[in-house]
Structures are given as structure tokens and as C-alpha cells.
């Protein structure tokens, strides 16, 4: 059983996704999804326990040895990401139990749980893949499922956003598949370890093929993860989806493309292959663009969820910045920011979802004075806003601190200035919401009553406390990610 954990991480949610439409019609679907996600979390945490010491779990699908068979690998990074992603997933699934039936057509509610599990299967598939084509297939699985959880809300804006996302996602898929064809053409392998061994030779013989391949794969995954200026689909998609979907899309789905790129650039495109190509510089430039422009666009938004969506563009920029610098501290910061932002942004979107659920309004101006009626949710939103800005004792501070240190280690003090400037800009768009929420006067108070159903409030509180805990005691993930970054960079 323990031996099969890497593949179970994908197979369990996949099986759940097919069982829910069959057995989960009469309101049982939510419980089935919860159980599946909880079991997946358990599997991921078990693997984290095994891999934390530096061991790597290798799994041969169907017992065919590589390079013929498909190989899955789970290292400490994969296990840590899978655990945190499953944790966020559990919180969002609990939250969705009360939110989704109100937002969707009753006939399509059980399909939502099915799509949710399919999305988890795709994400875990990418995290564990050690084979380029497997990576592509699971990228497509999670992209289609992600479009599904947007368009299932049967409204015009969701439909348009989903079509836009799907078409750009198909462009990305085309780029990735052509990149895979080019790399297979010059090396004859798809397994990442074998590719890593063959590619330096191929790069010397066919430099143009390798150049085109790196460009296509980078563009493809950057489009999937909304790196500026390829972020155009993100604000519409993330703001028009139902709130639990927004939480998953912003928190997890955009990160998966980055995880895939980090895998490729640390295992395959290393040393002599990449030395001549300016990809890291390109990534840093685009990341800086994303950081600045994401923040500027976020400042002009009136809709709360749209503002949060533009803030995601900025945060993706941070992660790419840390990744593009390719030094140990910056990469640690980037990996930590993947986890921290997954917790934070899901929490913020769930807060926004609860505001909308309670008041029926979604403009920032309507948030004034809400703290009187929803003190717990507003406190959590405040913690999230503080972490986004990077105020100490929150987890956002720790990852930004490492990113700034990383820019200084990399000898780029100007980029440290960009991070500080962007923190200032984030405070310009996050704090008015918080200040108005606590001290403003509501134009029309919401109907009296409790803050919200406990199953919607407590997941938010749990994630917010986790943000604080990781802000005060960041040692555990930090030490693990420091080791991971050292291993990935080959030092």
C-alpha cells in the first residue's frame, strides 16, 4: 500500500471524480468529495513524513521500467506542495458545501464536486510527474477542470471568461506539445532524468531546436500560470467564478504551471543547456512588469474579487522573480511564497465569498462597516491583507523577506526596491478595504443574524490561524524548503 502512494495521490481523486456523478446525486456528493480530499491529504502527509529526510519515492506505473514506462517521483518539494494543496483543498471543499448550492443550478451541484476532484487529480498529477508527456496530459486535465468550475455557474460573464481562458489555454497546450515534440526529436526520451542526461549533447548538436523547445515550453507554462503580459485571462476568470472556485484557481491552479517550470528548469534545462539562453533574465523582466502593473490595475478596481484577482498577478510576479534569480535564498523565498500565497489567497477569496453570501454585494464600497456584523471574517481578511503587504508576524513577511534577501545575494538591489515599492502599492489597495470595514458606516446594513454558517466561517479561521502560525514559526517549512532549494540548484 505504502509503495503505491505516489500514484494513489492522483488515482484517488480521479476515482472520486467518476464515482460522485454515479452515487452522489442526492446531496451525498459533497460528503464523498470531502472524504476523498481528506484521504488524499492523509496520503500526501504520509509521503511528506517519508521524504522529509531527503528520500525520493520512485514509482513505475504498471511496473514498466523507465525509459519505456511512465515514472512518477515524489521528493520533499512534491510532498510538501501536495500536502499544502490538499490542505487548502479540504478547507475550500468544506466552505463550498454551503456556498455552492446557493450559487448553482440545483441540477449541476453534484457535477461541481466531480469537477473539483478532477482538478485535484490534475494538480497532483503535475506535481508527481517525472515524464514530460505525463506532465502535458495532467496539465490539460487540470486546465479543462479549471474551466469547468468557472463555466458551471450558468451566467454570461462566467461563460465568456471560461471561453477566453479555454482558448488561451489551448494556445498554451499547443506550445507545450510542440516543445515536447522538438525535445523528443533531438533526444528520443521523455523521462526527465534521461532527458537531463541527453540534453547537453543535443544542445551542442542542435542548438536551434533546443532554443525553440525552451522558448515554447516556457511560453506555454507561463501562459498557464499567468505571467505578465500573458495574464489577460486571469482577472475575468478568477472574478466571475463561484467563490470556492476562485479560491482554488487563484490559490492553486496558477501555481501548478510554475511548479512545472521549476521542475523543468532545475532537472532538465540546467548548466550548459541554458547557459547561452537569456530565459532567467526574461523571467525577471516579466515578473517585474507583473509586480508593478498587477498592483496598478488592482488599485483601480471597484469589485472586491477583481481586485483580489489582479493581486494574484502581482504575487505570481514575486514567485517568478525569486525563481528567475536562481540563487538559493531567492528560490527558497519563491517556493515558500507558493505555499503562503496558496493559503492566503484562498482565505481572502473565501472571505470575499462569505461577504457576498451574507450581503449579496460585491463592490469594495459595500464592505464599509461590515466588521460590526461579521467581526471574525473581517479579522481574517485583515490578517490576509497584512500578509499580502508583508507585515511581520504574518507568513507573507517571511517569504518576502527571503525574496528581498535573495535579490541582494544576487547583486540586484534594484529588484529589492521593486519588491518594497510593490508592498507599498499593495497597502494602497488592501488597507482602504480593511479601514472601511472596521471604521466605516454601512450604507445599508445586512439583515441581522449570525455571521454565517459555521462550516463557512471555520475554514476561513483555520487558514488564517495557519497563516499566523507560519508567520511566527516559519522554521519547519523553511528548513525543508532550504534543503529542497539546495538540492534543486545542485549544491
Amino acid at each position: 500500500m505504502l509503495k503505491h502512494l505516489p500514484v494513489l495521490l492522483t488515482v484517488m481523486p480521479l476515482a472520486g471524480a467518476f464515482l460522485v456523478p454515479v452515487f452522489g446525486r442526492s446531496g451525498r456528493g459533497h460528503r464523498m468529495a470531502l472524504v476523498t480530499v481528506a484521504v488524499t491529504l492523509l496520503a500526501a502527509v504520509t509521503m511528506l513524513g517519508i521524504t522529509a529526510g531527503g528520500e525520493v519515492l520512485r514509482y513505475r506505473v504498471g511496473d514498466w521500467p523507465p525509459p519505456w514506462g511512465i515514472e512518477l517521483r515524489v521528493d520533499a518539494l512534491g510532498a510538501l506542495l501536495a500536502s499544502f494543496f490538499a490542505l487548502v483543498y479540504l478547507a475550500v471543499t468544506i466552505f463550498a458545501g454551503r456556498d455552492i448550492p446557493g450559487e448553482l443550478n440545483p441540477a449541476s451541484v453534484h457535477w461541481y464536486w466531480s469537477l473539483l476532484l478532477l482538478l485535484l487529480a490534475g494538480i497532483n498529477g503535475v506535481v508527481t510527474a517525472h515524464d514530460l508527456f505525463n506532465l502535458f496530459v495532467f496539465t490539460e486535465v487540470f486546465s479543462l477542470a479549471a474551466c469547468g468550475i468557472i463555466s458551471i455557474r450558468d451566467r454570461l460573464d462566467s461563460l465568456e471568461a471560461a471561453i477566453k481562458y479555454l482558448i488561451l489555454s489551448a494556445v498554451a497546450a499547443g506550445c507545450i506539445l510542440l516543445g515536447i515534440a522538438l525535445v523528443y526529436m533531438v533526444t528520443g526520451h521523455l523521462n526527465l532524468s534521461y532527458l537531463a542526461a541527453e540534453l547537453p549533447m543535443a544542445a551542442r548538436l542542435y542548438p536551434k531546436n533546443v532554443l525553440a523547445m525552451v522558448a515554447l515550453l516556457t511560453t506555454g507554462f507561463a501562459l498557464k500560470s499567468a505571467l505578465f503580459p500573458l495574464h489577460v485571462w486571469l482577472p475575468d476568470a478568477h472574478s466571475s467564478a463561484p467563490s470556492p472556485s476562485s479560491a482554488l484557481l487563484s490559490g492553486l491552479v496558477v501555481k501548478v504551471g510554475i511548479v512545472a517550470l521549476i521542475r523543468l528548469f532545475t532537472t532538465v534545462f540546467t548548466g550548459p543547456v541554458i547557459a547561452a539562453l537569456p530565459v532567467p533574465v526574461f523571467m525577471i523582466v516579466m515578473a517585474v512588469g507583473g509586480i508593478i502593473f498587477g498592483a496598478l490595475f488592482a488599485m483601480t478596481q471597484r469589485d472586491l474579487k477583481r481586485m483580489l484577482a489582479y493581486s494574484t498577478v502581482t504575487q505570481v510576479g514575486y514567485i517568478y522573480l525569486g525563481f528567475g534569480l536562481l540563487n538559493e535564498t531567492a528560490l527558497t523565498g519563491a517556493l515558500l511564497h507558493i505555499i503562503n500565497h496558496a493559503l492566503l489567497k484562498s482565505m481572502l477569496f473565501m472571505c470575499a465569498g462569505l461577504f457576498i453570501h451574507r450581503t449579496g454585494k460585491r463592490r469594495i464600497a459595500d464592505m464599509a462597516g461590515l466588521a460590526r456584523h461579521m467581526p471574525l471574517t473581517m479579522s481574517c481578511f485583515t490578517i490576509g491583507a497584512m500578509a499580502m503587504v508583508g507585515i511581520p508576524v504574518t507568513n507573507g513577511f517571511v517569504s518576502k523577506w527571503h525574496l528581498v534577501l535573495g535579490t541582494l545575494h544576487g547583486g540586484q538591489p534594484l529588484l529589492a526596491g521593486v519588491i518594497l515599492l510593490s508592498s507599498l502599492l499593495s497597502s494602497i489597495y488592501y488597507f482602504p478595504v480593511v479601514v472601511a470595514g472596521w471604521f466605516g458606516h454601512p450604507a445599508s446594513p445586512p439583515p441581522p443574524g449570525p455571521e454565517g454558517p459555521p462550516s463557512m466561517v471555520w475554514p476561513i479561521v483555520a487558514l488564517a490561524s495557519l497563516c499566523l502560525i507560519l508567520g511566527v514559526w516559519p522554521h519547519l517549512p523553511l528548513r525543508l524548503l532550504g534543503d529542497v532549494a539546495r538540492t534543486l540548484l545542485g549544491r
Binding site: F133, L144, G148, D157, L159, I163, V171, G174
Partner: protein, 120 residues
Amino acid sequence: MEISLGLFLRLNYLVAITLFLIGLHTMLTHSNLIKKVMGMNIMETGIFLFLVSIGYARQSLAPIVDQGDGVIYANPLVSAIVLTGIVIAVSTTAYTLSMIVKLYERCGTLDVDRLERLRT
């Protein structure tokens, strides 16, 4: 020069790249949603042609064992990849088209420019 000559000698690659570019251009520039979906399919056809061409060597046979010694086989792996790719392409196309049908029922138009204006 070197590249273009090489491409003319291997016509498959030239056609594949042309198809890919036609598809990509259609997808990104046309405002009609159906044409975008067609572009998507043309682009994917280009990629599939490219993949199949990689696996083919001149005068190679279908990869069935027991055809005697000294026979060159075409690479079966790329065909498997293309099959998987086709499945993904079909499902993406079906899903996009179903959403376009819904959109058309709501708005009565397929023109992206007009849709962009419809929403505030």
C-alpha cells in the same frame, strides 16, 4: 538559408510548421469564435503531423515484430502520443463548442468584439 533549404528537403516539417502558424494566427486574431476553434484544430493538426513525421524514417514499416531481419520500423511511441493528443484535442473542442452554443443562445452573436462590448 540553411534552415529553409533543410525544410524544403523535409516537406513534412515545413507543412507542419505552416499549419501550426496558420492555426495560431487564426486563434489569436480572428474575432469569430467558431473560427478560433477551427484555428485551434488546425494548430493541433500541425503538431500531430510534426510528431508523426519525427517517428517516420524513409521506407520504414509499421512496427510489427516478425518481419525478418534488417527491416526499419517506424517509431510507435509518437503514434501513441498523437492518439493521446487527439483525445485531448477532441475533448477541448467539444467543450469549447458546447460553451459557444450556450453563449450564442444568450447573446445571438459569435463576434468576440461585440461580446466584449456587451459586458460592462
